[in-house]
């Protein structure tokens, strides 16, 4: 191994976007036939570095060596020619093209399509046999599940004869079983001598699959270590730059009376698709109910109904009193008056107005509060700003500038602004969706602590998250949603990711076909409005 040239070597790569130094003097060596992990928080510069390698951006300084040869990569064409393939976090597929058309796009053999399509069909079959990458070549991308779409992306790279495969946050959209399947494919690719770079923020994936790992923080590479010689704890510290608590530290719940009671809830969206199917559950004071599920299985609609901006049939009781689900009192304002606070899933669309400043966003929804009024006609903006400064201090929002536009805060700090607004109203029930999506590890720790503290004050909390780890570590009870239905409830201490993963794919008993096939079939079906089987 030692006398081989590294598959990739970067020397002194720097890149700035205006005043922001996204990459600072980064050097890295990746040996052929290995899996190299790159881990770091959001905005640490991982994706920028890989985009430079794939020719999306031009580095301000530094050199790239591929297989020992100094290579210039001015565009994606050059990267592909150098044998680099990239699977982006957001797939770059044409939705209404077939798998085959997507694979040949940009790599056609001649001006006419037919010969290319025929060759690709044969080639894909060979690749499927070689690496276990089975896909339906004539299916439209929009008709297949995300796991399959990801496989198309990998096939695209292999069809272009890639020896180096870069995967950017590949498991963000996958169920645990699909992720396992992906890692098995990566194993086979590695065994065939391919070099794989895995970008992720999930410590466990790094520990399970990589040979070496590089840690990035604020545009710099802080360390490169052998995976076998490090620990999650050490990697987390290298990422954040200080000690972090990976486990949520919480005492057993002391549940009191039921705050939220949902009975036979049904939601049909404006396209006529039945999104939530006869769902019933309770959340008691002083407990966190976690709702797990793959995105798009009715969790969002459930939160929307409770938050007051989606209509539904059925019954919802809060503190024993019924909520209006369709009439004049089914809006956010009325919900807040009933003691419901809501941290929406998509904070940039539903939680904040991105162009407005932090203090304006702090008042939203609560702008009728007595303390914010100067007279019956005018608001007291100074009072709101003062209030915002205090909240920013308590929630450690950085920078603590109430006049800064919300879009200029990092994801974690945006979330803290929303949390501060909602939690500080002392609600009886907190609805919280994807609390740490796009939030860095340091802020995750803080946000989790706030949620647990609220529970310990005797509040009821309904947590919706697609991150199973988060659900398992925060919740006192876990319910799993699939295709609009609750598939079952479990106690975190008595279940594991594998069991929940199967429930998330709607599998309650062992099917008579390979489990991954069953999962894919079910997930591709969910949310289409068609009945399963």
């Amino acid at each position: 191994m030692t006398d081989m040239a590294p598959a990739i070597e970067l020397k002194g790569i720097s890149k700035a976007f205006g005043p922001v130094q996204a990459n600072k003097d980064i050097s890295i060596r990746v040996m052929p036939g290995t899996v190299h992990g790159i881990i770091g928080e959001n905005g640490a510069g991982k994706s920028t570095l890989m985009s430079i390698l794939f020719g999306f951006y031009k580095a301000d300084a530094g050199e790239i060596f591929i297989g020992g040869q100094k290579t210039s990569i001015p565009d994606s064409q050059a990267a592909i020619a150098a044998g680099i393939g990239m699977v982006f976090q957001h797939f770059k597929l044409v939705e209404n093209f077939t798998v085959l058309e997507n694979v040949i796009l940009g790599a056609e053999d001649s001006a006419l399509l037919k010969p290319s399509l025929n060759r690709a069909r044969k080639e894909l079959k060979a690749l499927a046999d070689e690496y276990g990458l089975n896909v339906e070549v004539d299916a439209l991308i929009q008709d297949i599940g995300v796991g399959m779409q990801q496989r198309v992306e990998i096939l695209k790279a292999l069809y272009r004869k890639a020896d180096i495969l870069i995967l950017d946050e590949p498991t963000g959209v996958l169920t645990p079983a699909e992720a396992d399947q992906l890692f098995r494919i990566l194993e086979r690719l590695k065994a065939e001598g391919k070099t794989i770079i895995l970008i992720t923020h999930k410590l466990r994936e790094i520990m399970d699959t990589t040979d070496t790992v590089s840690v990035m923080r604020r545009g710099e590479m802080t360390a490169t270590v052998k995976t076998s010689e490090t620990s999650p704890q050490e990697l987390a510290e290298l990422m954040v730059g200080r000690k972090v608590l990976l486990q949520v530290d919480k005492a057993p719940a002391q549940p009191g009376a039921n705050i939220l009671e949902v009975k036979n809830l049904n939601v049909t969206d404006d396209k006529g698709v039945h999104r939530v199917k006869d769902v019933s559950f309770n959340v008691a004071a002083g407990e966190i109910l976690g709702i797990a599920g793959v995105a798009g299985n009715g969790q969002s609609e459930l939160l929307e109904v409770l938050g007051g901006y989606e209509k539904a049939t059925g019954t919802i009781l809060v503190n024993g009193l019924e909520l209006d689900l369709t009439g004049a009192k089914s809006d956010g304002q009325s919900r807040r008056k009933r003691g419901i606070a809501h941290v929406p899933e998509d904070r940039q669309r539903e939680g904040l107005i991105m162009d407005y400043s932090a203090w304006e966003n702090t008042a939203f929804g609560y702008h009728h509060d007595e303390k914010y009024q100067r007279s019956s006609l005018f608001m007291d903006n100074n009072a709101i700003r003062q209030d915002t400064i205090e909240k920013m201090e308590r929630f450690d929002v950085r920078p603590p500038d109430p006049k800064l536009a919300s879009k200029n805060f990092s994801g974690g700090n945006q979330q803290k602004i929303v949390l501060a607004r909602e939690i500080e109203r002392n609600p009886d029930l907190l609805l919280i969706g994807q609390p740490t999506r796009g939030v860095d590890i340091g802020a995750i720790e803080f946000i989790h602590q706030q949620i647990v503290a609220l529970r310990d004050q005797g509040k009821a909390i309904l947590l919706v998250s697609v991150e199973l780890e988060e659900i398992l570590s925060l919740s006192d009870r876990v319910a799993v949603m699939f295709d609009g239905k609750i598939m079952g409830e479990r106690l975190p201490s008595e279940t594991n990711e594998q069991e929940l993963g199967l429930l998330m794919a709607g599998i309650t008993e062992m099917p008579d076909k390979p489990i991954v096939e069953a999962i894919e079939e079910n997930l591709a079906h969910a949310g289409t409005g068609k009945e399963l089987h």
Binding site: S47, T48, M86, K92, V94, F97, L105, G106, L112, L113
Partner: protein
């Protein structure tokens, strides 16, 4: 109504549908590549003027046609520059082109020919004249088929046949060639094209260029074939009707033919109020007939065509995401 009258109406349907069809296919290329083009109208108008002016001055309609195409291409270039290179708003750029063409054509025509903003009448080789297809005269007396061949199929200007041939050609390019695959992809998801190592900007300029050529032919047809010279605002909203037809056609070439034939038919009907009176046995207001194509446009645009899904990346300038 006898066969001959029907054939006459269908014959003028063909003639009136031709500029719509060319403009519709022009829009199809542009919009399939993700560039909305509201400036079809302006491009046709500019091409109509310059083709008539040059055809009159040079005495050759073919040089006139080339000049018309050039005028349209220049406006296409401006649209491309504004919406592809500088990532401006495609609607605003298109509207600006329409205003520019409406004003400039009349001003230049007035200072060039001093005939009240029109060009002189074209005749002879300065115009596209009807061509008689082989055997049309000898087959004329064959029952049914003879008149159909003579009246309907034969006797159009060359541009009518060119427009018709553009339909299968467009289909073939879009669905059977590498260029077509990439063109459709760039209108759906330019990021997929970019990461595949193909230039988004290059593809979109190519599409806008084809759009310019087709609009140029459409405009030249108006001034040198359908009529004999340029008059103020002679495109008369055809660019917008072509856009409506494009939506009606769901951005597909064969449907574009059917949609523009329908609009052409309505325009042909509006020219024959006597026939409508004979068929319906009461007098229909002539102006009402005139507005019929426009009413249909409004109805179509209001969404009575079922699900028409435009190219997903349409109207959006492409910016690489971080």
């Amino acid at each position: 109504m006898d066969l001959l009258t029907l054939l006459q109406i269908l014959d003028s349907t063909m003639r009136l549908a031709t500029p719509l069809l060319l403009a519709c296919l022009a829009g199809l290329f542009s919009e399939r590549a993700g560039i909305f083009d509201i400036g079809l109208e302006g491009k046709m108008l500019a091409a109509a003027f310059l083709s008539a002016a040059v055809a009159y001055t040079s005495g050759s309609v073919w040089i006139g046609l080339l000049a018309g195409i050039a005028a349209s291409l220049v406006l296409s270039g401006i649209h491309g520059l504004a919406s592809i290179t500088f990532r401006g708003n495609q609607l605003i750029s298109g509207v600006a082109i329409n205003f520019l063409a409406a004003g400039l054509t009349v001003v230049i025509a007035q200072s060039w020919f001093a005939q009240g903003g029109r060009t002189p009448q074209l005749s002879g080789a300065a115009r596209f004249n009807p061509i008689t297809l082989p055997f049309a005269d000898s087959l004329r007396d064959v029952p049914v088929l003879g008149p159909i061949y003579y009246e309907l199929i034969s006797g159009h200007t060359i541009l009518v046949y060119v427009a018709l041939l553009c339909v299968p050609a467009t289909w073939w390019i879009l669905y059977r060639t590498r260029f077509g695959l990439r063109l459709r992809a760039v209108g759906e998801n330019p990021a997929a094209v970019d990461t595949a190592g193909v230039s988004v900007v290059g593809l979109r300029f190519a599409a806008v260029g084809i759009c310019g050529v087709l609009c140029g032919i459409a405009g030249a047809y108006l001034a040198t074939a359908l009529q004999a010279g340029f008059v103020k605002d002679m495109s008369a909203g055809r660019g917008y009707i072509a856009l409506a037809a494009l939506i009606f056609a769901k951005w597909r070439p064969w449907y574009a033919l059917y949609a523009t034939l329908l609009f052409g038919f309505l325009q042909a009907l509006a020219l024959r109020p006597d026939l409508i009176e004979a068929v319906l046995s009461f007098k229909v207001n002539g102006q009402l007939l005139d507005v019929l194509p426009y009413i249909l446009t409004v109805i179509i645009l209001a969404g009575f065509v079922g699900k028409a899904i435009p190219p997903r990346a349409g109207g959006e300038p492409y910016v690489k995401e971080r």
